[in-house]
């Protein structure tokens, strides 16, 4: 009886170990390739023959390389992300408050429109947006990217609304009795109570430009390396033409980008779960 238990205990951990290996092997390959001597993908062995820091040097100090301009991409993406994050978090929180805490005639119709809008594939409209931006001379510019990422942000209000719904109504009513207006309630009561969902919204909108490939590829189509975002630039590194010269640099870039993103993600995931579980009680 006891030995059977021990065996089951060992078996349980072996299964976990196997799964963990499965999940970590590609990541390990990313790291070892970024330190390996081969410029292209290493095709013969899993671990490289020798290790070097050259690829990190190459990607951090690219000089006038026409393909790799990693520091510029990083800066571009960071700038876009900061502004996107500010604007779209504000939009999301504003819409969520209006929809959750206030009652007005257009509320239900607006919510229905938002649901319908979310059902269209996001980038169907992007083709027409591209022409609008072209007329405004905003393609291949960071301003254009910020507008593309944050203009429609109000549509993603549902999780934040769900969270606001869980904040007790009596709190607000007490404030109204004290003579507070809606703005004061929003700013002094709801916002301070919504830290998890604010952190979630902020980090989520900050991460969007780092992860997005499709919108960037439509809007930033000049092919000039210095104008790209990280996702677009790294993608160009592994296309048919460049792969054999830049694959290791791509891996190095991937490792570098992963560090800040994973830090943010670890912060966010705690709040994410709180937001989701808090936000879905009333749906």
């Amino acid at each position: 009886m006891k030995t059977a238990k021990v065996f089951r205990q060992i078996g349980r951990h072996l299964v976990l170990l196997f799964l963990a290996c499965l999940w970590l092997v590609p990541i390990l390959w990313l790291v070892v390739t970024s330190f390996g001597v081969d410029k292209g993908p290493n095709l013969s062995t899993f671990f490289p023959a020798a290790y070097t820091l050259d690829h990190y040097k190459a990607i951090l100090f690219p000089g006038s390389d026409t393909v790799s301009q990693f520091p510029r991409w990083f800066l571009n993406t960071f700038t876009i992300a900061v502004f996107t994050c500010i604007i779209s978090s504000m939009f999301v929180l504003m819409v969520a408050y209006a929809m959750s805490c206030m009652r007005f005639k257009a509320r239900k119709p607006l919510m229905n429109i938002a649901i319908i809008m979310n059902l269209f594939p996001g980038f169907l409209s992007m083709i027409a947006v591209y022409f609008i931006m072209k007329n405004l001379n905003l393609t291949n510019s960071m301003t254009g990217m910020v507008i593309v990422y944050s203009a429609g942000a109000g549509l993603g209000y549902l999780i934040a609304k769900g969270f606001f719904d869980t904040i007790s109504k009596s709190l607000r009513e007490a404030a109204y009795l004290e003579g507070a207006n809606e703005f004061t309630v929003f700013w002094k009561i709801i916002i301070p109570l919504s830290k998890p969902i604010i952190v979630y919204t902020v980090i989520n909108s900050f991460l969007a430009p780092w992860m997005d490939f499709i919108f960037a590829s439509i809007m930033l189509n000049s092919g000039v390396s210095a104008q790209k975002t990280v996702a677009l630039g790294l993608f160009a590194m592994v296309d048919k033409v460049n792969r054999n010269n830049y694959f290791a640099q791509f891996c190095a870039g991937g490792v570098i980008v992963s560090i800040p993103i994973s830090v943010l993600f670890i912060i966010m995931q705690k709040f994410y779960v709180e937001g989701i579980t808090g936000g879905s009680v009333k749906g």
């Binding site: 990541i27 206030m102 992860m211 991937g254």
Partner: protein, 492 residues
């Protein structure tokens, strides 16, 4: 079930269909405006012409001035800027671009040509503005009459300062919503209208603006998608792509969903040691941004990639060839043969998606009221029973709504498919290739490649509309089911 049917039947006679009700309410509104106009005094009547006049008569000078300025702006922009485009909406332009010799400059110059896309775009914007102007005009008459009545009854009429205070009080929603709604209107709704209209034109590589014109063709593009013709294989490709999209959406969603929950339960089990360590292992996999890990995995499983080398060395490739599972003895076509690529893509998606789901499920599992599980154990339930009747319903209740969203999200999951198949997967099916589709394409990736590689905007927007219809049907079905299975009370 019985009850809900009865309620529905009871409710039907009282309600008219939505569309009829919609038009009836518009009719009533306009009738109301006419009545207000007839009954109002001279200022109200004048405000139909000069928007701010009634406000000025009641002492609301700033508001009156602002309204009149708004009217002037609309009255200038709609006829002067947008009307030239709106007037050509019926033909989408008739003058094609040409180079004409200009004797003054002694050079060939472009004639004053029509750009069909700009006609469409600015025409739609103009129509939307016109609609807004009409609505504002009608509302203004109503508001003018309402203020007149208040003033006559001796009630208080708001000053401009009070109007401003209202913007942070009872009308705070307007302040909050103006900018977000404007953003959505300009960069989502208007572009969507334009793209939906494109589905009814012949805008493709043979009619590219600005060199060529395109025009209306009615339902022709939709017919292409449902009828095979000699020179179009869209109908053939569409059926296949749609089927794979649905299979993919269901499989991708449910494998990740249940995989994540099972993994979370496995790690959270009392008997597991080092929970934090295991969780971190899986977290590392999502720390790498999705596009990096997908591009990496694509090279990992390439035909001449590292996994193939290892399989070859281990003799796996030869063995698979000997049993006829792969067409060549040189490599395993992980991402290049339909029979291999489709399962591989789903497996890779599990690799990408399960850790996320694990995180969410972990958070939810920790919130399950322990008394529920305790009492189940006392009642003699085994692990499976308590999973089936407590844990699972609880998780489903919390995450059910997001499950629908993630199916819709997976139908539109561009990244996984595009990043894994771009430059790697080429179809050997000539009929698919003619429609620029391949076996692993989802509707959205097909849509993307049609626009970016083929400039086939008309078919792309037809497909976009169909994606919307599919998503809408799914969402409606799911909402109906969820309302039936409302278990909110059980857990509170």
């Amino acid at each position: 079930m019985e009850r809900s049917k009865a309620i529905k039947q009871a409710a039907v006679p009282a309600k008219r269909p939505g569309l009829v009700r919609f038009f009836a309410s518009i009719g009533q509104y306009i009738a109301g405006v006419c009545r207000d106009f007839m009954e109002g005094d001279l200022w109200v009547k004048l405000s139909a012409l000069l928007w701010g006049s009634s406000c000025a008569a009641r002492g609301q000078y700033v508001k009156g001035a602002l309204l009149t300025v708004l009217e002037a702006v609309l009255a200038y922009f709609i006829p002067v800027v947008f009307w030239p485009y709106m007037s050509k909406l019926n033909t989408l332009g008739t003058v094609q671009q040409q180079r004409v010799y200009n004797p003054d400059t002694r050079q060939n110059e472009f004639n004053d040509y029509d750009n069909s896309f700009l006609i469409m775009l600015f025409g739609v914007i103009g129509c939307v503005l016109l609609l807004i102007a009409v609505v504002l005009w009608l509302r203004n008459i109503r508001a003018a009459r309402a203020v007149e009545v208040r003033a006559k009854e001796g009630k208080h009429v708001n000053s401009f300062r009070e109007d401003l205070t209202d913007c942070f009080g009872v009308k705070f929603h307007r302040t909050l919503l103006t900018l977000p709604v404007l953003g959505v209107a300009c960069f989502t709704i208007i572009p969507l209208i334009v793209m939906i209209l494109i589905a009814f034109t012949n805008y493709d590589r043979n009619h590219l603006v600005p060199a060529k014109l395109f025009t209306w063709v009615g339902m022709g593009n939709f017919e292409l998608l449902f009828n095979m013709t000699a020179d179009s294989t869209f109908a053939y490709a569409f059926g296949r792509v749609l089927a794979w999209t649905m299979i993919w959406a269901v499989l991708a969603t449910f494998t990740c969903y249940f995989g994540g929950i099972l993994l979370a339960m496995f790690i959270n089990n009392k008997k597991t040691r080092g929970k934090k360590f295991w969780r971190t292992c899986f977290m590392v996999a999502i720390a790498v941004p999705q596009f990096v890990s997908l591009l990496l995995v694509r090279n990992f499983f390439a035909d001449a990639g590292i996994v193939n080398t290892l399989c070859k060395n281990a003799g796996l490739t030869d063995w698979l060839y000997s049993i006829g599972a792969i067409p060549t003895a040189n490599y395993i076509p992980f991402l290049t043969h339909p029979a291999w690529a489709r399962p591989m893509i789903i497996l890779i998606n599990i690799w990408v998606g399960v850790p996320y789901q694990m995180l969410i499920a972990t958070g939810i599992l920790m919130n399950i009221p322990n008394e529920l599980l305790e009492s189940a154990r006392i009642d003699g339930a085994n692990a499976w029973q308590s999973f089936k009747s407590i844990t699972m319903p609880y998780i489903l209740f919390i995450t059910g709504p997001s499950l629908v969203n993630s199916i819709v999200g997976n139908i539109n999951n561009f990244n996984v498919i595009y990043l894994l198949s771009k430059d790697v997967y080429t179809t050997s099916d000539q009929l698919m290739a003619n429609a620029n589709a391949n076996e692993v394409d989802l509707l959205v990736t097909w849509l993307y490649r049609l626009t970016q590689d083929q400039s086939n905007y008309k078919m792309a927007s037809v497909i976009g509309i169909l994606v919307f219809i599919v998503c809408a049907i799914l969402t409606l079905l799911a909402f109906n089911r969820m309302i039936k299975g409302d278990k909110e009370e059980n857990f509170q």
